[in-house]
Point group: C2
Amino acid sequence: MSYITQDKLVILGAAGAIGSNMTQSALTMELTPNVCMYDPFEKGLEGAAEEIYHCAFPGASVTWTTDIGEALSDAKYLISSGGAPRKEGMTREDLLKGNTEIAAQLGKDIREYAPGLNFGVIIFNPADITGLTTLVHSGLAAGKIGTLAALDSTRLQTALAQHFGVEQDDVTGCRTYGGHGEMMAVFQSRAKVAGTPLTDLIGTDKLTEEDWEKLLERVKQGGKRIIQLRGRSSFQSPAHQSLLMLKAVMDGQGYPWPSGVYVDDASAGFEKIMMAMETELGSEGLSWSIPEGTEEELYELQASYQHLAKLRDEVIEMGVLPSLNEWGKVNPNL
Amino acid sequence: MSYITQDKLVILGAAGAIGSNMTQSALTMELTPNVCMYDPFEKGLEGAAEEIYHCAFPGASVTWTTDIGEALSDAKYLISSGGAPRKEGMTREDLLKGNTEIAAQLGKDIREYAPGLNFGVIIFNPADITGLTTLVHSGLAAGKIGTLAALDSTRLQTALAQHFGVEQDDVTGCRTYGGHGEMMAVFQSRAKVAGTPLTDLIGTDKLTEEDWEKLLERVKQGGKRIIQLRGRSSFQSPAHQSLLMLKAVMDGQGYPWPSGVYVDDASAGFEKIMMAMETELGSEGLSWSIPEGTEEELYELQASYQHLAKLRDEVIEMGVLPSLNEWGKVNPNL
């Protein structure tokens, strides 16, 4: 095995479906031999760690702990899938409060134990808001924390490939920005199917307006569909794609999909938010630009931002995030 | 991505925990872009396939089907985790009959649809017996079907590393042969811990006889322990290690653990059986030799063989395997 780096990677939520898959995949991808598995659920964590030991990755030095300080200490890379799932009788607000509180604590823990973190990916729901909350409390530079945003785009690519009966790679330029699922802004103007612009296909016999609307709905409900089919939330694709984000920071070879990134540019109409933008992922983390698109697409992106800003403001009202004008005090990098 | 081969790999049981993990890992390992997922459970299979599509592996051409003929057609590589689990009220014999019947049908299907199979790994329980049954009915050459046997050895390596507090790689030469779990023959005479022969450590303060017995018991119960800890059977390590077996056949770079292999050498005391031996895995599949060991170890190996032979004879009595002198008629390669 020739690992890309020797830097410590900590996987938070490692007893869960996403986290345990991620541990195995990180080693299979040969990212780093130094992986620390963290989870508050000790028994399941030990079981997940045993599975990894039985894989016998050459040169690997995998540890596990229920102590967050030990887990984060000296960590250079981090992925957290460690939110709480929505439970029976829980309102959307309960979930938002619970998971942003977890994110705020994670941010504080990063500040205390891993101030030298090079890059972290936050993937527990609602990821843009938990990522933002983590970043604010972590004290890190804006580009050091990102969220997974690729799956909406890969689901669009999948659905178009299936509709047209072509290989997935033959569908290019699929891009969704802003928030996820219902909130996403689909940028169709740059997508091509086997070289033909998608906009030349929509509204023809090959893809009627009605088919396109159905397809978009399917993409937006992509996560729910996995639950219906498998009886469980998606875990393989989030694990795989978030590791590719880390890989890009480690090897500098780039990442082909949009990521959720901290955006604060009042002149562009986006303030103090985390959302999927056109992004680059390199050794210093994330940088972003406003995606190219039609007026309508950019309007959708602004609407998606507004939706996220409302969620962010709810979290401020809950007291989990400071008010906007206080962010610089909590995190001088923002 | 630079895949090792373009040959078709079919994963049987792809809707399950092992099979779906294997599909993701096979693509992460860049074995081949041409992966076909098969499972009789259509809904779960589609869900597992969607997850893989959302991973968006570059260049991948992943298909899924509930038609075994379509799945096996032109397949060069195969892994089957597609047995039935033991259910409430089922006796050991019920399980043996059920799973060997599945294996016999798989062998017949290979004969019909994939006579050009280059290598197949069978990993549903009891794997040595299901692998043997598959081989006999497949008509393939003996080295073309193998079973996963590594986990007993990697569990021994894990347990020794944990006991001595050393890195896993510092424990070398861990080898178990014969059958699995209770049936395994542990060859301790070649194992070393940080360079010191294990036999020099057993019976000292560093590893008392009692500790060693406990450790061995833990290795033998390694699978059960995963179930106790995680509430589910191990799936990550079997997926990973069986893919490494395929990888060795594809890339000719070797495989570091013993595999289950067809053994028929009356002069050596092993007839018409599949069991873990010292093996080499190359482009032509498996070849084997009798492991080096002490007299006691070789006696244990013979005892393990006898146990497996008894199971095999039960399957013959059930009518799922032909009587021993008829095997050449069913499979002229044996």
